[in-house]
Symmetry: C2
Subunit: 206 residues, 2 copies
DNA sequence: GTCTATAACGAGATAGAC
DNA sequence: GTCTATCTCGTTATAGAC
């Protein structure tokens, strides 16, 4: 109890710093963001921040690690027990919800990927590869059973990833062209429906 | 003639610098790249580079301007005179060809978008908005004529953009998961076929 | 047009008092 | 744990000779 009471403020500070860091790194990148800026936004001093995180890069990696979990969660839920059409529809909705609720995480993930993901490449290779292979096998099973039209599962997965992330990563462009973002509930539902419609028709068996 | 002979080397240097800059900016971003690095890669001295470009930001904006043209070209070609299925199939192929041939341009474009495109937002608003509205109208016309299933044209365009760019922007991830990139001719054709298949079936009228 | 030298600044990181 | 002060280095940009 006493331990928890003492540790809580520390955790709060760490969290505040991580939140501030995500927000700034996702907009300006690692090199475009100064430790000072992160500290200011988190409401701590620079040297205090550097007491919690040994250096800037360690902070960055911590942010990325948290990120990876958010990014992977919807894929982990993708289930083999469901009806295939329903599983895909649900996955699209969940992924779009992530783009709506954690656009900064999505953008930083994208930034990191573009730069070759030097800091999380190993983890990505290990973690993601296994999950994707598993989910691809599930999709392939559905196709074998005649429940889905035959398309390369990897390309199908890429298409869903790319399309759903686009609304977070290119939010500025989407906003410029449609006047809206996923934060608008009506636009969110319209987007879910459109993406689901094209993808589901695209894999519906003849 | 004499003028051209004198101007050519200068143009070559400018071009070399712009090429080097694109390559580095697209990997490390504006702040992650030093003028020194760009100069070294272009084979000129730093101060010489700063003779051609007043400062780093001007160089960056020049790179972005060239980029925008590459990025917009396939969309401009998107024609209303064609058969809709063929027009969409061609557009997907051309866009994937850009991802294969100019992955750095695609990545820098994405980087810039994520950061809110502060430097080219105005141009983007003007240029892109007009084209997209025009192409959307064409697609809507096809739908009205019963040649395509009814989907929101903007979302359809986003889906094609996102999916085709993904192979450039997330090349590292694609490589990690499939072992290949668009540089592989076989993989390129397989990708074109998969994306076309899903999208075209997705918009095929009932 | 091209180079060397250097000014001027910003940012990451550390030292040490409290 | 938190602060102030400071060290140190990399980088942009300029000055000025050739």
């Amino acid at each position: 109890m006493t331990k928890k009471a003492a540790a809580a403020p520390v955790q709060n500070k760490r969290t505040a710093v991580l939140d501030a860091a995500l927000s700034l790194f996702s907009r300006f990148g690692l090199h475009g963001t100064s430790v000072d800026q992160v500290a200011a936004r988190a409401g701590v001093s620079k040297s205090n921040l550097l007491y919690y995180f040994a250096n800037k890069e360690e902070l960055y990696v911590c942010v990325l690690r948290d990120l990876l979990e958010v990014w992977l969660a919807p894929l982990r839920e993708f289930s083999a027990e469901q009806d295939p059409q329903q599983a895909i529809a649900d996955y699209i909705r969940r992924k779009l919800a992530v783009s709506r609720d954690s656009p900064e995480a999505s953008r930083l993930f994208c930034l990191e990927m573009i730069q070759g993901a030097p800091l999380i490449k190993d983890e990505l290779d290990r973690e993601l590869r296994g999950i994707v292979e598993h989910k691809s096998a599930v999709i392939r099973g559905w196709m074998d059973a005649g429940l889905l039209a035959r398309v390369d599962p990897e390309h199908l997965i890429f298409m869903i990833w790319a399309t759903t992330q686009h609304y977070a990563d290119f939010a500025v462009q989407v906003q410029a062209l449609t006047g809206r973002t996923l934060a608008n509930p009506e636009f969110f539902e319209q987007t879910v429906a459109s993406v689901q419609a094209v993808v589901l028709r695209g894999v519906r068996p003849r």
